[in-house]
């Protein structure tokens, strides 16, 4: 039978890469993910069960994964494929959010799940993984593409990557991609971050290393980029001439929830500010990239992080506040203090609260304070960024309670709400019609993400896993960014380690230590209540 193929199809056949699927419809289909496998180290852990598997299943449900997609789990616990599949089925059913569980789909999805037990410090474990991956490539047509996900203790990251390299797993003879995803923390200080990178980069190129910061995967953080660079009205005001200061708040109402032993070593500065909040701050303050591409966006973020002024030791006390919550009664519940939590030393010096005044030394932001705070056992769970504009230059309505020289003055405030009520609010002055005269009253114009886009928002892990499989590292942290943010917090960390603090210094259920309010008051500012 004579066949006539279109030029497009003929061209497709001549291609050696998979970039020319003529059936693809970029307008309606999700991004194309090439055939591949994910190998999870630490697959018996909480992260795999609560986040990774539910996210991957959800992606399969939405037809976003390629056919033949496979998962290989590894941990020390001895388990058969069937036992591991059953365990994953239970956790997917339990932790999948806002999504149905389809038995028939699971049956097919589970066919692509495998388990290899073994100790990650034993080379034999990697030999067994190689056999499994080769078999999957042959049987399920994954083309040899593998994403290694390190869901292990951070202290194992470097050695696992080295073992991957030693076993010949970091390269594929046919040129398929091999990538590795690592979870924060990326080191525990600048020196250890550099050392981690040195050992990883001996095995893999930087473009194949995906450092996950799930904050950057949040839709609302990504929306900050859309808000800033998709609109023209705010960007001209986005500088020191119009902005008085910026407040970044990430508050949690819960305590350490059984993770006391871990948290005791980490602390709020390292756990939140060094990574999540500095990344968020960089997203809010970076320059516009020349195009929307992972390197271009990350170049700008990195440049901004490098511009953060490094505090001198004698400046730390006036620019940073360390806090730890003590016991309190909130509602009808008696909440323990941090030192009373399970696994925590009664003498612990850990920061469960940290607030820092950062400055960005570039032309756009010179002199603008960025107040960044995070804490546990705060009055509510909220993450937002508040951009407070300068007062009006002239007070036309001086007798009004809302006038700029009045104690009730309410300068323009732009709030980017990350969670839980994702959206954007703009506060501005309006004439109060009641009572006559020119009285001003602050009003708020709200954009609510949920009400304008009521569709289901993908979880951060769905977004980030899909990005890693597609080779898009825009929302991942690069090594130079990691090092720049360590540089910014290290003087504070060192100073806090060298000094002993009189803890607790704030009550559970409050907005943090008094010293934090005083830090802002010295510049004539005050924390807003989110």
């Amino acid at each position: 039978m004579k066949r006539r193929l279109s030029c497009y199809a003929q061209w497709f056949m001549q291609q050696t890469t998979d970039s020319a699927n003529p059936f693809h419809d970029a307008l309606r289909f999700e991004r194309r993910i090439p055939p591949c496998s994910v190998l999870i180290f630490g697959a018996n852990g909480d992260l795999t069960m609560r986040k990774l598997l539910p996210a991957l299943y959800r992606l399969a449900y939405e037809r976003k994964l390629p056919s033949g997609f496979s998962i290989v789990g590894n941990s020390r616990t001895a388990m058969s494929n069937e036992q591991f599949r059953e365990k994953m089925r239970v956790s997917v059913q339990k932790f999948i959010e806002n999504s149905p569980f389809d038995e028939a789909l699971w049956e097919d999805f589970a066919k692509g799940i495998f388990y290899v037990s073994g100790d990650i410090s034993d080379p034999a474990c990697y030999a067994a993984l190689k056999v499994q991956l080769d078999e999957i490539e042959r049987e399920r047509g994954t083309g040899g593409n593998v994403l290694f996900y390190l869901s292990t203790q951070p202290s194992f990251y470097a050695s696992v990557v080295e073992q991957i390299g030693a076993a010949g797993l970091a390269q594929h003879p046919g040129g398929a991609w091999r990538r590795v995803v690592i979870e924060k923390p990326f080191g525990h200080d600048l020196a250890s971050a550099k050392e981690l990178n040195r050992r990883i980069s001996a095995v893999l190129a930087e473009r194949d290393v995906y450092r996950i910061d799930h904050y950057l995967g949040k839709e609302t953080v990504q929306n900050v980029l859309a808000f800033r660079f998709g609109n023209t009205i705010f960007e001209p005001l986005w500088n020191r001439q119009y902005i008085s200061h910026v407040q970044v708040t990430a508050a949690e109402s819960i305590g350490v929830e059984g993770r006391g032993a871990y948290y005791q070593e980490a602390g709020a500065l390292r756990d939140m500010i060094q990574n999540h909040l500095l990344q968020v701050m960089a997203t809010v303050t970076m320059e516009a990239p020349p195009y929307f591409d992972s390197d271009a966006v990350r170049d700008e973020r990195a440049k901004l992080l490098r511009s953060i002024r490094i505090l001198k030791p004698h400046e730390v006390d006036s620019h940073a506040v360390k806090g730890q919550y003590g016991p309190a009664r909130v509602g009808n519940a008696d909440l323990p203090g941090f030192r009373q939590e399970q696994g925590v030393s009664p003498e612990a010096q850990t920061d469960t609260y940290a607030a820092v005044t950062f400055f960005v030394d570039n032309w756009r932001w010179a002199g603008v304070p960025f107040y960044v705070r995070t804490g546990k056992r705060m009055p509510k769970r909220v993450t937002d960024i508040a951009i407070r504009f300068n007062n009006a230059p002239l007070s036309l309505f001086s007798s009004s309670p809302g006038a700029s020289d009045s104690p009730l003055a309410a300068p323009n405030l732009l709030i980017l709400r990350i969670q839980p009520d994702e959206g954007i609010s703009l506060r501005f002055q309006s004439k109060d019609p009641s009572g006559g005269g020119m009285k001003l009253r602050p009003v708020s114009m709200d954009f609510n993400y949920g009400s304008s886009f009521g569709s289901r928002t993908p979880s951060a892990y769905e977004t980030l896993l899909l990005d890693a499989l597609a080779g898009d590292s825009t929302l991942y942290t690069r090594q130079d960014m990691v090092e720049a943010s360590w540089r910014a917090v290290e003087p504070i960390q060192n100073h806090w380690l060298e000094n002993k603090f009189d803890f607790p210094n704030y009550e559970a259920g409050s907005w943090g230590p008094k010293a934090s309010d005083e830090m802002l008051a010295r510049r004539g500012h005050e924390w807003r209540i989110p």
């Binding site: 279109s6 056949m13 003529p22 289909f29 056919s67 789909l105």
Partner: protein
Amino acid sequence: MSSSSVNTAQLLKDLGGLWTQLGKEESEGSDRSAGVLRAVTMTFILGVEEGDDEMAASEALALLMHEHPSRAIVLKLRTQADAELDGRAFAQCWMPFGRRQQICCEQIELSAGSASFEDTVSLLHGLVAPDLPVVFWCRSAKLFDHPAYPEIAAMADKVIVDSRSLSKPLEALRFLNREVHAGRLYGDLTWTRLTRWRQTVSNVFERMDCKGFFQNLNRIEIRYAHAPEPIAVEYLAAWLKSVLGTKFQVDRVHRPSEASWQIQGLCFVTALTDVVIERSEKGIVETHIQKFSTRTVFEELDEPRLVREELSILERDPILARVLEIATQS
């Protein structure tokens, strides 16, 4: 409201009154409520006809409003040809789960018989929300054939129809082809229903071992369940030809079945091995490539889901344009 009092100013005044009232309720509200949020992201015009499953239409509208808060304008073509123009304005409010703030959208309903239906169109010009996109979902076959249709469609940035429910589906495709090539934005839910079929085919060709597959491809079979041949088959065949060439052999095979869906499967026939994509019971689609098989879920597709996909595309769809061109050549 009598016909004499239906005018743009009155309807807009009624809407304004609604918001004042809701705002008043907010300030006097109970401590359980954190007020009302007015949300409008577009004007959404829904064209329906009296008696034609109005309940389903209003349920679909309510669901769409949750995800695309709009000023909704329902145009209802009354059964009685001489029924006079009638209109009312009201708010649709809901409390999202776990929130304390109600979200409210505006809804205007205009109805008239066939003889005076143009009266509704004259009001529309003043009722669309300014500076926001206008989308017209024509859910009524009678309205599609009504002389007022072109004027309503001309007001919209995008028009959504469902060719399979129109009186002459193939004629409708020709009409859509002319409109799309004249630069107008159209969505056809019959085409939208095929997205997941097309995506499944695309996924098959993402597999590296299928790269050389086209070299040996002889023909493609589209298997369908119900006679007469559904318009979806026309679309699917045109799409395959748009990729493989208009002369490529695409066979349409009727396999009678009690199934509720129209497309049963696709078979890519080669001299060596076939790729078969088949829809089975329980909404599952199985793909067989040599010894390898995989499954995909095809959830039940309701109208809001299809319209939602179309609302996400407010730009020219070049693939649909090409497919319409090929489909209407036959």
